[in-house]
């Protein structure tokens, strides 16, 4: 067999010399790109190719304070800009999405604080009164929705710990996505979501150190601003961002005809592999953070309730129905840990409405109807 291959290669060399030379040159280019390029070219140069032009502009705008919707925060990474409004999305002077003016604490009203990401915030396609938080309000209940775009649980925890005690809430409701563990090992958003060009920001993260949780804070504004001009911060991210590997792959395999499709194929197979296997440890950090937040809210005399808010693919999985039910496993684990939990999948499935009516076109955020249904299920728990 080997002899046959060698014979064919010799024939190719004499009868198709251009093809033969192309194969040799191509392999050389692949090796240089994968092995030598990253040793010679600084990381921040690669980062400029990794990020879109829009992403680079967004970084400059945000860290110089020119971003309209969000402000830099040294604790949680970013906050809603108080007083900002655009079309349906209105943020009050506290930085929350509310339906009424919230000032001093009313003793005859239960105060509910909402934390989480845009899934809890509602997103810009619905009005303030169409959010989950608005759905639970009545004459005896008021809600402050501090959920912020792209927040992970670690950011929600830090936001609560540093800024939201003063609101003296009775209940803290934290919205989690269907895969809430995914953002917890991430520090630079584009490493996890390369396509994110509006919010390519730095966030804090916790790392488990035995039983302890070690906080890796948000880098300074200057470091963030110069991330595409200096490799200093990238060197730190190599050891502190769990998604640095995607950038590594980009450096080595993005520029060549064989490397890019092979790397893409490997990535897809890896994703498929992660769908097929159950990994208990990926929930450990999530559980640890949830317990930490529980401790903080208990110290404040507040109850803590979590909402699991799955995407449309989790409600209607199609062929993925044959794969391990990681969402179901997560619900069981979290309930075993003693957390008060609203299972969004159960609520939405029992509502018996079509997915297209429950979700926005992006298949992740909820429509006004979806928010109402979740709010109605949440209210008795409060």
């Amino acid at each position: 067999m080997l002899r046959k291959v060698v014979t064919q290669m010799k024939e190719m060399r004499t009868q198709a010399p251009i093809v033969f030379s192309s194969v040799v040159i191509l392999l050389g280019v692949e090796i240089i790109s994968a092995a030598i390029g990253p040793l010679v070219v600084p990381d921040h140069i690669y980062l400029r190719g990794y990020l879109s032009e829009q992403a680079e502009t967004s970084i400059q705008e945000f860290y110089t304070g020119a971003s309209r919707a969000l402000v830099f925060d040294e604790v949680s990474g970013w906050l809603n800009r108080p007083g900002f409004s655009r079309k349906k999305w209105v943020i009050d002077q506290h930085g929350a999405r509310t339906t009424q003016t919230i000032s001093s604490r009313h003793e005859d009203k239960k105060r509910i604080l909402f934390l989480g990401s845009s899934l809890t915030n509602g997103g810009s396609h619905i009005e303030n009164h169409e959010t989950i938080s608005a759905a639970i309000e009545d004459s005896t209940t008021e809600a402050l929705n501090f959920a912020t775009m792209l927040y992970s649980l670690d950011q929600s925890l830090l936001l609560y710990a540093h800024r939201l005690h003063e609101f003296e809430s009775d209940v803290v409701v934290v919205g989690l996505s269907g895969q809430p563990y995914e953002g917890l090992s991430n520090r630079f958003i584009p490493f996890r979501m390369r396509e994110e060009s509006n919010m390519p920001y730095f966030k804090p993260r916790y790392r488990q150190n035995g039983q302890e949780l070690e906080l890796l804070p948000v880098p300074s504004k200057d470091l963030c601003l110069t991330v595409t001009q200096s490799s200093r911060e990238l060197a730190l991210l190599e050891y502190s961002d769990g998604y640095f590997g995607s950038f590594e792959n980009f450096k080595r395999f993005n520029f060549t005809p064989l490397g890019r499709p092979l790397s893409s194929l490997a990535s897809r197979l890896q994703n498929l592999g992660s769908l097929l296997q159950r990994d208990e440890t990926e929930l450990d950090l999530l559980v640890a953070l949830m317990h930490k937040l529980e401790g903080l809210t208990e110290d404040d005399g507040a109850r803590l309730v979590f909402m699991l808010l799955p995407d449309q693919g989790t409600i209607a999985p199609g062929w993925r129905n044959n794969l391990p039910d990681k969402y179901g496993d997560m619900v069981l684990r979290l309930r075993d840990e003693g957390f008060e939990l609203l299972d969004g999948r159960k609520v939405l499935t029992e509502a018996d409405e079509g997915c297209s009516r429950l979700y926005h076109a992006d298949r992740r955020h909820f429509s006004a109807l979806g928010n109402r249904i979740i709010g109605a299920a949440l209210k008795p728990m409060l």
């Binding site: 190719m12 198709a16 251009i18 093809v19 040799v24 040159i25 280019v29 060549t256 005809p257």
Partner: protein, 473 residues
């Protein structure tokens, strides 16, 4: 399954790998099945049309050959042509003629209800129906013997590299290849790969870049832009349609070569033509010869006097225009080229009788002719590209007198695309005018160029691949 996609690449690699392990008879069966699969990926419902066309013409071919009387021969030919033209006419032209009938009735005061149907145009129908008709016609004209193998004939009709947008291959050029032994050889493999790569470059880079950044935005709303932009967009479209179609043809020819087949060239640097006849000897050559051999010449060609020749020319070009699309703008485009060809014929007659008008062949004499020819072709492209006749007139008006004031800041890749096209045609000019037989470019240098081209394409092509322009026909 678009040629310029990963899906086609995977499909072709699988077909290629299996194909060369099979003996000839099984190769043809496999090729036939692979081609049907390829077509089904576009729309499986229209496989039935190819099958009908194949069966009807296979049987017709046999019957034409075996008929004992001229009347029977003609009858079977008519059956073949009727079925093929009937399918083509219904799917492509029903709504066009229905709308025309309603408009005509309206002119004389009759109000007819709108009879148009929601008909989907099957991909490639204009191409494969012509191929199958050429089979029956060649047998009728005694230029070809019918094949005894339905599989071979089906493989010819459905041959996937050229199924959806040509080149239009005649049975007598292809059937014998199906009936011969084919052996893998490295030179053909190399040639085929290079043709495919060049085709990719023309399509993915030149054509799509010009479409995305220049042609589509301006043709979408020409009233916004000034005259210069309209002229530039027209130049862009002239290059785009050439690069798109010749790129596809190049990929088709290369793919066929990798499978051991030789199919005719479709383009020969058409924008080097110095007169309109020359243009049609260089542009979509397989279609030109089809119309010449099966419409123009049977009508009498130029053998029945000058006036009759002009009528035959007009008929042929109008039908050619209609073949491109069921719309008056295509008919007018064909008519314009008919006028151009008639003018060219008249000029030739004048030159023959008055040699000083013919020129001595020096560059300063044929340069005006070249400019005039290319200008005429480009202006006709306005009709071809516009959605309808009124849109075309508006565009032409805008070229003469600025309606809008806007211009577009074009990215550098547009300049590169134009430069690449100029290089392409410059190479063609050198090929035609200089003796290149002694020129040898070292293989490693060619190889480096190929690899550079592949890497360049990887990074420079637009994110979304436009469909090939001629797929709509």
């Amino acid at each position: 399954m678009n040629f310029a996609t990963v899906g086609y690449l995977v499909f072709f690699i699988i077909v290629f790998s299996i194909y060369w392990t099979l003996p000839r008879r099984r190769q043809n069966i496999f090729l036939c099945l692979a081609s049907y699969f390829f077509y089904a990926c576009w729309d499986y419902r229209f496989l039935s049309l190819i099958l009908i066309s194949t069966l009807v013409d296979f049987i017709s071919g046999q019957r034409i050959k075996n008929s004992t009387t001229p009347k029977m021969r003609k009858t079977w030919l008519i059956i073949s042509l009727s079925v093929n033209l009937g399918i083509l006419g219904f799917f492509k032209y029903f709504n066009f003629f229905a709308d025309g009938l309603v408009d005509l009735a309206g002119l004389v005061g009759w109000q007819l209800s709108d009879p148009t149907l929601n008909i989907i145009l099957p991909v490639g129908i204009s191409f494969y129906t012509f191929q199958t008709m050429s089979y029956s016609l060649d047998i009728y004209l005694k230029k070809l013997e019918p094949t005894k193998s339905l599989v071979d004939f089906a493989a010819f009709v459905a041959f996937f590299p050229q199924l959806v947008a040509g080149p239009i291959v005649r049975a007598r050029e292809f059937m014998f290849q199906l009936e011969s032994e084919r052996r893998f050889n490295w030179p053909d493999f190399q040639d085929g790969l290079i043709r495919i790569l060049l085709g990719f470059f023309k399509k993915l880079f030149i054509a799509d870049i010009l479409a995305v950044h220049l042609v589509d935005p301006i043709f979408a709303d020409p009233s916004r832009y000034n005259s210069s932009m309209l002229w530039l967009a027209l130049a862009g479209y002239s290059v785009q349609i050439y690069a798109d179609f010749s790129g596809y043809s190049s990929m088709a020819i290369g793919s066929a070569k990798l499978l051991g087949f030789s199919i005719p060239e479709n383009f020969s640097f058409p924008y080097l033509a110095r007169d309109i006849s020359g243009f049609w000897r260089r542009w979509h050559m397989t279609m030109s010869r089809f119309f010449r051999d099966y419409i123009y010449i049977p009508l009498g060609g130029n053998r029945k006097g000058f006036v009759r020749a002009m009528i035959n020319l007009a008929t042929t070009t109008l039908i050619s225009g209609l073949w491109h699309g069921a719309g008056w703008n295509f008919v007018i485009w064909g008519g314009l080229h008919g006028i151009y060809l008639a003018v060219n014929q008249i000029w030739r007659r004048v030159s023959q009788h008055h040699p000083r008008f013919g020129g001595s062949g020096k560059w300063f004499e044929f340069l005006p002719a070249w400019i005039f020819t290319q200008l005429a072709v480009a202006l006709a492209w306005v009709m071809f590209r516009s959605a309808n006749v009124s849109g075309a007139w508006a565009y032409l008006h805008g070229m003469v007198e600025s309606v809008g004031q806007e211009s577009i800041a074009l990215p550098w890749v547009v300049t590169i695309a134009f430069v690449a096209f100029i290089f392409d045609h410059a190479f063609g000019w050198v090929q035609e005018n200089k003796n290149l037989s002694q020129v040898r470019i070292p293989a490693p240098l060619m190889a480096a160029g190929c690899v550079a081209l592949v890497v360049f394409l990887l990074h420079a092509h637009p994110k979304n691949v436009d469909p090939f322009i001629y797929f709509q026909f």
